[in-house]
Symmetry: C2
């Protein structure tokens, strides 16, 4: 590359969108800008109305996504002083499954006066959990009718995914379903808005909409079995043409060029998902290195050589992360979420005071105290199921356990035991891959948690026995999106021929590496055995106490099951 | 009784002694006075020396007991204005096993200059836990040699009891053991000081020194098997003459009369133990009504008709509580202790602030919040083993469990689950008695906890399905001691012929009664089944994770096993 070229990645998160302008030669992050969604997560009332949402609903306003484009892209251009001519590609990444109904020309139904006051006309955010009944029925029917696609998803389709959400629209608002010319992932919708061309990407189709490269979508008969009105959902409202990641979706429209300050025709990559886009951004484009995005929950992404059935994963999608390779996704439902719960609900005032005295956050203070403990010193072992268990048990009705409590137990001991339990949970996931012949030899962690908490990273290394590197960027999603933008642009435009080439130039890791301490690993091996025994006892049906307690709870509070 | 007569009970607790002057006609508590022990619990350094005690040691100074007599008895006489001539009896109750070495004339070795600087010369308080090795060996030898006396004590002699403590003296300080003309319970020693006559009571001998009315002490051969030097411990340093509760030990000496302000010759009852003395003081002198003294731990006392072997009790002693009836004692190691732990270690600052705003203690605030919950609403179940489990598993290496945690779990839910778990533990004890044909039809609770926490009492009623009455006195031990003093005095002196007669006049209950709510009981039945499954799984060898965690902990911190 003779001329210095740049790409922009736009990361659409849960509360805000962020644009990142990067130097294509070395991945240097030149400028970043965040735009908060005006309507954020809509989970109480529909904006501008008196309409209350039911519990478990979570919507968004697609206009907030457009505002990110209009505000954050011009902002990074201005901050960086980069000439728009030198921005040779654009990519986006998004939460998923975050989906919306639109007209055939891509207009969100909620933009239209006749649907604006209808909750089903809006975007259903990834954490919209009101389609559980549909998910349960879908899983039951798929099992009863012997569909093998469930095997690709650990045996269960989540209520967060595309078809349960679509089916909820049909069940509760058939008029909205009928009016929806298209049902589309928000990430694909934004690319449509950027380019004027409707495309669909293989990643969200594979991980969220039961599509596979070899088998396509489930057959129409399956959808008919769900509801006859859904029989032709794919052909009527979606698309059977799915594009590999890094493909050019199209060029920027004139209108979008006017909004963003970029040149019309600037290549735009097909849409992508945040965690998946991060993988090449943290240098991983080959098997054996698992990427864990650590936050409120953990998302594990791993490349394989051939597609295999693996127990309890979230999904395996050929080309779902990196073209040509099967991408495995697994997950832990509760990581930072449970630490946050602990800090909010269980840390005494004396600790708050001491943390304040030392000018530390309570998390930092607890980390400091917990770091002084030896593994095994607390006598505690926990099951990290505060939000249930995704991988590998795929059971939302499991719950958390603390075992080994005494009146000498201190808060930092519980805190450390909770961190350790999430590390054991990750080890279960890794050993589950290994048992299926999918090797894991290194961990790369990304996300806010490992940035802030080195103790946690070291514990993960000691528990798993694997070396760990941390992401070199705090904006893996946006960087990965920009890299895909550079690939979409291609070499002729000053970009890259492949994501492999892009990663070799643009991706980087934090220099510091974490390696397991063999003595500590030996102690954790013993603790992990205890975790496994409890994991299987409570998680595999020997004692379904957790389910019975949830059942009793629902009876007692009279909530719908 | 034509003339108004009185008795005094003196209750020797862990930190202080309390005298209570009561009206014999109706049990009215006329005056009370507390004297704090100057040396309290001696668990760091020996008073007046630089000698440091090892961990797990807990000593007392016998002079503190004498000071209680000198200060608290005159104080109640003065406060009440009662004529010493009208005080017709005196009784005491004490913690147990709290024991000391003395010369043959009853002088505590620690009063003598040559032994004053020797820790083994002092009183070993009930919670002196440094004789665990001796207890372990004693239990092993008794099992190996087939002694059936273990059956009376749930299969295990505690390190807190008489012979492990005596043996520790011999092991670590044979010179102290040799110099000890007598080894004696502090409660018997105080009666000796009051009367000038050495007596031994059946209660402490039975519950703490492996004595039974039918079999006596273990044979000399057993003690020889422990250590040849201990072969004749009973004949050399104790007594085979054990007196029933309520027996007159003797009359007050002139010296004691001078100290206390009572008349010389005032009848003094043989010694008693606090919890046991409380039983008639809360109206219980017959089978089928279990008395639970609730505090940091729970002590359960129940009368039977005939002596039976019951799994995991602390002991059964013929006449150990009420003459003529077998008295069963069971216990839970951790009740208020774990609530205290929770409040100190796990309650967030926001709750402290809210409690302060409402002018409530944090316990009161938590009780108020927890009382708003429905049973089963929290989805939690706990195992109440923060201090191990005494009855019925007799296993100090068990530990606490919280199960069912989610990120929605609130502190008051954990607090309530911990209360509930102690109620389940009590139900296990009650059902264990019932399964052996020893009926339980009512609960009487006494101690500080039920005074303060009505929610707890109601939960115990709902969980056990039994009506509960609360003690009418906050000073059950002292009232019971005074009642025994009245029995020791006898009818001729204006006292009572029996503890039954004394109880019928002097004992009373709080008017309010707690009865189980059938709907709530039905929910608790389901939760109790979950508790039982976990109780047996973790407590009966299916998964010894708790022991392995403690073992690992000890290895890791390098502490002696």
């Amino acid at each position: 590359m003779s001329r210095r070229t740049f790409a922009i990645g736009v990361d659409f998160g849960t509360e805000s969108g962020r644009a990142l302008l990067v130097d294509l030669t070395n991945g240097q992050e030149i400028a970043t800008a965040i735009h908060l969604y005006a309507n954020g997560v809509i989970d109480e009332g529909l904006p501008g109305t008196n309409i209350q949402l039911e519990p478990d609903w979570a919507l968004q306003d697609p206009n907030d996504y457009l505002e990110v484009l209009k505000k954050a892209i011009p902002a990074v251009l201005e901050k960086s002083g980069v000439n728009p001519e030198d921005v040779i590609g654009l990519g986006i990444d998004f939460t998923a499954c975050t989906m919306l109904p639109t007209t055939s020309d891509g207009t969100p139904l909620c933009f239209l006066p006749q649907w604006r006051n209808h909750p089903h006309g809006w975007v259903k955010l990834w954490k919209h959990h009101a389609a559980q009944d549909e998910a349960n029925q879908l899983n039951r029917i798929a099992r009863e009718q012997g569909y093998t696609f469930l095997d690709r998803y650990g045996g269960k389709i989540s209520s967060e995914w595309f078809f349960p959400k679509a089916w909820q629209i049909l069940n509760e608002a058939p008029e909205v379903y009928a009016a929806a010319g298209r049902l589309i992932e928000a990430t694909d919708w934004v690319v449509w808005q950027l380019t004027g061309i409707e495309t669909r990407n293989e990643c969200t189709a594979g991980y969220k909409a039961i599509w596979s490269k070899s088998e396509g979508f489930p057959p129409n008969a399956f959808f008919r079995a769900l509801d006859p009105r859904m029989e032709h959902i794919v052909d009527e409202k979606m698309s059977r043409t799915l594009l590999p990641l890094g493909t050019k979706a199209g060029g920027l429209t004139q209108e979008m060029a006017d909004w963003t300050g970029l040149l019309p025709g600037t290549p735009v990559a097909v849409a992508n998902v945040d965690a998946h886009a991060s993988v090449p951004a943290v240098t991983v484009t080959e098997p054996e290195r698992i990427v864990i995005t650590m936050g409120t929950s953990n998302c594990h992404l791993l490349l394989g050589v051939e597609e295999r059935v693996v127990e309890g994963i979230c999904g395996v999608v050929q080309g779902g992360i990196i073209p040509g390779l099967p991408g495995y996704e697994a997950g832990q439902s509760c990581v930072g979420d449970s630490f946050g719960w602990f800090v909010e609900q269980c840390v005494p005032a004396s600790y708050e005071r001491e943390a304040a005295n030392q000018n530390l956050s309570i998390h930092q203070y607890l980390e400091q105290q917990a770091a002084r403990l030896l593994p095994g010193e607390s006598g505690l072992v926990a099951l990290d199921w505060w939000n249930g268990n995704r991988s590998i048990l795929v059971d939302a009705d499991l719950s958390g356990v603390l075992l080994g409590l005494t009146i000498a137990t201190r808060p930092e001991e519980i805190y450390r035991a909770m961190i350790e339990s999430t590390a054991y949970g990750t080890r279960v996931i890794i050993e589950n891959f290994q048992a299926r012949g999918i090797p894991v030899k290194e961990i790369v962690v990304t996300g806010g948690l490992p940035e802030r908490n080195k103790l946690l990273v070291q514990i993960y290394s000691d528990v798993t026995g694997l070396p760990i590197r941390r992401s070199g960027t705090t904006q893996g999603g946006a960087l990965g999106a920009a890299m895909h933008g550079a690939v979409a642009a291609g070499t002729s435009a000053g970009g890259y021929a492949s994501i492999f080439e892009a990663a070799s130039h643009m991706a980087h890791l934090h220099e510091e590496s974490f390696t397991p301490n063999p003595q500590i690993k030996a102690i954790y091996d013993r603790l992990y055995q205890e975790y496994l025994i409890l994991h299987d006892y409570f998680g595999r049906g020997a004692n379904d106490v957790m389910k019975r307690l949830k059942q009793l709870r629902e009876e007692v509070i009279g909530a719908p099951k």
